[in-house]
Symmetry: C2
Subunit: 422 residues, 2 copies
């Protein structure tokens, strides 16, 4: 586990004024990594660190000599911890670097982003037992939570090519669906388009094929965390998913936030990982004292919806959900790494592990419309009189996340935003 | 569809003597692409074309100025057809290039290979209705072939990182399994290790996110075909696969042949795509006159097993299966491309689409041990007195494939070979 150190000191203040604003996602205690360039340019994307409402260009600041985020992620944790310490010192009030680094700042309002690293392989997990149970009831009323769920961190491979960065619109997918009472399927636009509130865990150091990563060192292979929306076409999913899992219902687009918040930044926001006493305890390869003591992440997550009508009226949107990862996740990130590699499977730097939909224990903490609207049977009423069972064309969905604790400075994950178009 | 032209002329002979040997996999009518280097060297892999028992180094021959197979695959079909014509002319008897190109030949016996291109995303399909039915009976006795099978080309995403080239050994995977009569799962080495006989379809030109590829132009996005072994841990699979599909049971290793046989080389070996009259016909987005007329590939496939005892005795091994793709595949490669992209999913050059296990209609044409041994209940008797229900440590499994037709020169796909170690 990563310890809390001087880079987390609540007294630490940056010479970047916007980083000192209360409630800011990117204070000096955060320092997340992303890839940016001036909006509208065709330059290659560069590695940057968010600070307040600015981006520090790492190359311009003399901190890296390349633009290869995956190479940076591949380094051993000590290397990125050293980089974090260097960034923290250089951005702190009184730093001798201020004059030089100030010239390496670009306002975020003048930047565009891409997916924060090259994602070679993307795996999606299913870590919320609440989500698995609620969804399971809809797909298999008599058999909601399958017998393997509490033993196996259920996961499946997803499509890396269609992962897009926050702010990217996508077309409503077409595909085959079959009504329960229909004899044959029909082809057309998805009618039950949904979002899924997830975290993206980004792999740092890889492992060689045939060399499992034990639970004790699993976090050495985690670089950090982002927000992730695994858009889902529920009607396509219901018809296609047996026996080999979701395919076209998921691979038309997935939206990731531009910033990777590192495991180092998250150090003050760790929590015990516990199981209900009646539940089976994890098998030894998924269990360790450190994982039990502080394997979980304490992140508050929100889902906001801005319909086209709200946007036209200048309204920011409405919050659909607020929850917390400690309530939602039945498996920790370390357990996902240990499980994924226990058969020898090799992970590479930049690989993305989706947490699965992080629904909490109460209906208001559900991480998808399929849950909130009870499979479309109870449309969600919005304050402006609109209702939603599923997403409509023009809807913008925004995921937000942050960590807040007594004795620590609040840090944010930014947002993952996407709009569905016809 | 790609037409038969002068590059397929049975009268065409190469000045490379080994390419004229009857039964050779790589006559001048084939010209498959791969990535090679001298055995044991640490040089970067280079692009080569197999001819007889030699490899033509494309850069040394002045035909490309790079070693980026994916860039070559990304080109429009006309570009690779022009390259094929150039290769065919230069390797033909009487060519003015003979003296120069002879210096660009490297004996295959002195080469090692890597996966023939960088596979960014790998999708596995399930195109044999015979395999789906036989396996379905074992997993779901009362419900073997699911209602979607004859409508949807069932597919799921696989792991790209663990695809290895022919000749690579891999460790028997460990994982969770649960016996039917056990209360809780146990952890240990896989006891039901299997192979799957598949074709790899390699994507050439990509498509942009949100822009489906219609069935009429689907083959313009196909570069070629290889052999593919989707090793499967059946006991892990049975316990983990619901509800989201196979994961650790598949992603420990998949073996691909070193050579990609192009769609151009396969032009003389096309076959009609037909459905039993009682079966539903494909939905319009999966149907075209050209696909019906010659959407299928006529490839003979074999599976060979060489046990450690056979190897010690100097024996080549025993053939377990021989079948043909026209009997096995319920969906054509063009249909897989059209289906995969119909929701807007983007394919990239070098993406690999597995056909799924190509089992034919008779038990002797089964493409996996799970089928041949009836789920382990009827061990396969080998000529030397050994038996196999599933693979044992030291077993080498070899896939072979070739095309043969009256009026055409036989071409081969080479082999995909892998050995399981403890």
């Amino acid at each position: 586990m990563i310890s809390v150190n001087a880079t987390h000191d609540p007294q630490l203040r940056s010479w970047v004024a916007s980083a000192r604003v209360a409630g800011c996602d990117f204070p000096i205690q955060n320092l997340p990594f992303g890839r940016f360039r001036p909006t509208g340019s065709t330059e290659p994307f560069r590695i940057g660190v968010a600070i307040g409402d600015q981006v520090l260009d790492l190359k311009a600041a003399g901190l890296v000599d390349h633009a290869d985020m995956n190479a940076l992620m591949a380094a051993a944790p000590a290397a990125r911890q050293a980089l974090r310490a260097r960034l923290s010192a250089g951005l702190a009030e009184g730093s001798a670097d201020q004059a030089a680094w100030a010239r390496a700042l670009v306002p975020q309002a003048q930047c565009e982003y891409t997916v924060p690293c090259e994602v070679r392989d993307y795996t999606d997990f299913y870590t919320s037992v609440h989500h698995a149970t609620t969804i399971g009831k809809q797909f298999r009323p008599d058999n909601p939570l399958l017998p393997n769920y509490k033993w196996v961190p259920i996961g499946y491979h997803g499509r890396a090519s269609s992962i897009v960065v926050s702010g990217t619109s996508f077309k409503r997918p077409h595909g085959q669906t079959k009504a329960a009472d229909a004899a044959v399927p029909t082809f057309g636009p998805c009618k039950r388009l949904d979002y899924e509130l997830e975290l993206a865990y980004f792999v740092g150091q890889g492992n060689a094929l045939g060399e499992p990563v034990g639970i004790a060192t699993a976090e050495d292979h985690l670089f950090g965390v982002g927000l992730f929306n695994d858009w889902s076409a529920r009607d396509l999913q219901a018809w296609e998913y047996q026996p080999l899992g979701p395919f076209l219902s998921k691979n038309f687009a997935s939206t990731v936030s531009p910033w990777i918040v590192t495991m180092e930044a998250l150090a003050p926001f760790r929590a015990p990982f516990t199981r209900p006493a009646d539940d089976p305890q994890p098998l030894p390869y998924l269990d360790s004292a450190a994982n039990r003591a502080q394997g979980a992440l304490d992140i508050t997550l929100e889902v906001w919806l801005q319909t086209a009508r709200m946007r036209a009226a200048g309204e920011e949107g409405v919050r659909l959900t607020r929850g917390n990862t400690t309530q939602a996740a039945y498996w920790t990130a370390a357990q996902l790494i240990a499980h994924h590699t226990v058969n020898g499977c090799n992970l590479n730097p930049g690989d993305l592990l989706g947490s699965g939909t992080l629904s909490g224990p109460t209906p208001g903490e559900a991480g998808s419309l399929l849950e909130l609207s009870q499979g479309g049977k109870q449309p969600v009423a919005l304050p402006n009189g609109e209702t939603r069972s599923f997403l409509e064309d023009g809807d913008t969905l925004i995921l937000r996340g942050w960590c807040e604790r007594a004795g620590a400075v609040r840090i944010g994950l930014g947002e993952a935003r996407g709009t569905v178009v016809a």
